[in-house]
Symmetry: C2
Subunit: 265 residues, 2 copies
Amino acid sequence: MTATDNGRLGLLLDIDGVLYVEKQPIDGAREALERLRGMSAGLRLLTNTTSRSRREVFEQLQAMGFEVSLQEVLTPAAMAVRHCRERGHGSVALLVGEKLREDLSELEPWSPGGERQPDAVILGDLGEGFTPAVLNDAFRLIMDGAELIALQHNRYWRRGDGLALDVGAYAAALEYATGHEALVVGKPAGEFFAAALSDLGVEHAVMVGDDVEADVGGAMDAGLPGILVRTGKFRHDALTARVTPTAIVDSIVDVPELLERLPPI
Amino acid sequence: MTATDNGRLGLLLDIDGVLYVEKQPIDGAREALERLRGMSAGLRLLTNTTSRSRREVFEQLQAMGFEVSLQEVLTPAAMAVRHCRERGHGSVALLVGEKLREDLSELEPWSPGGERQPDAVILGDLGEGFTPAVLNDAFRLIMDGAELIALQHNRYWRRGDGLALDVGAYAAALEYATGHEALVVGKPAGEFFAAALSDLGVEHAVMVGDDVEADVGGAMDAGLPGILVRTGKFRHDALTARVTPTAIVDSIVDVPELLERLPPI
């Protein structure tokens, strides 16, 4: 008997770097995804993207020939909405790009000069919009009691013209100045993985990702096996990180066979 | 016999908040400064300012009627120059305001497109100039091996329109993204206090300041008594900080009498 025999095993997959790299599907990834769907109790695609809406992520996957549904795509924005709802937050200051606003439309957006202070500041990717004026406004709101919610906490990312500071760096500036740690809702937050399990109605799942900290480390901290793929942002030096993946494979193509061999959970 | 009897006791004073508040000299501060000069082996004024040059700080003190010399004013910029000289740094990227450049004129300023990479990035106060483009450039230089030198590491400051992020917050963003801690040359760095002692040619000194962390904590970490004044940025909640000052007085006016009562060092 193997891990998938009981049929109650969920599959959690990172998207960028696992299914495609630089907008090109990884060879065999579409077929592997189908095979994994058949082997599992269902799957969820967990992305930390803060530059595109859930719908855009879904449409891009479809355009590449991946057979997925919108419901299968989970983003940090959805987690932020859930958190604000649970906390009963009223208006929320949205420091996010234009494209992400549709994913946060359930929230009441705060604007400067509003009658009352916002209950939270949601920090996404503002790109060139991370000006001192914007950061100082956010800083003052947090000092006045607003909760800082970071959609992710990555250090940097590689864009066309080179490395650039990511959301985590700007969050670190606000955290240092205010003395308050941000609530991170994207990977590696345990709540993100828990929400995916709950969404699938399963108690166990395997996570597959190319980011040894956010994907693999996050999953393992949440008690789930974490499989690292050697595609996408994988680098050999990642293996010296604090995380020891449950397994390492060349690409998602090798995951179905690996799951057949995993002992039952 | 008291602390000042041996005549080898130096006096270290913070400036803003100790000698003046909001550009107004504190009542009796000029006379207290003169009395302290007569009681000690000499004094140095240690400021963490990153917005004005040493000469401007000196001229402002003179304009307020304080009898000081340019040589008595010590700034983080001078410490940064000393550090770069000791390390044999070649060109250095200067992320500082225009007014501070005269204090860094000994260094060879790096500019983008230069033949070789800079050996260090000096981070001062760029105000509205802390744009993502500027921060990303600094980030890449540090990732390529440049040392990050922060003129100070304060969390925030109070300016005309409210609280604003200070140099320490932007340093924290770069530190988080690069995984490298900045070298801080301003207070509370022990090197700053050591340089002041060396400049005075004394082994012992007393520090007087209104910042319980940078002034008092920094001095005490360097083995010097730290006296907190209740003027300037002093707040009662400062007394719950990790630092217990050697003494707390209402203002610099009370320091001469206090020194008369201190046991010999």
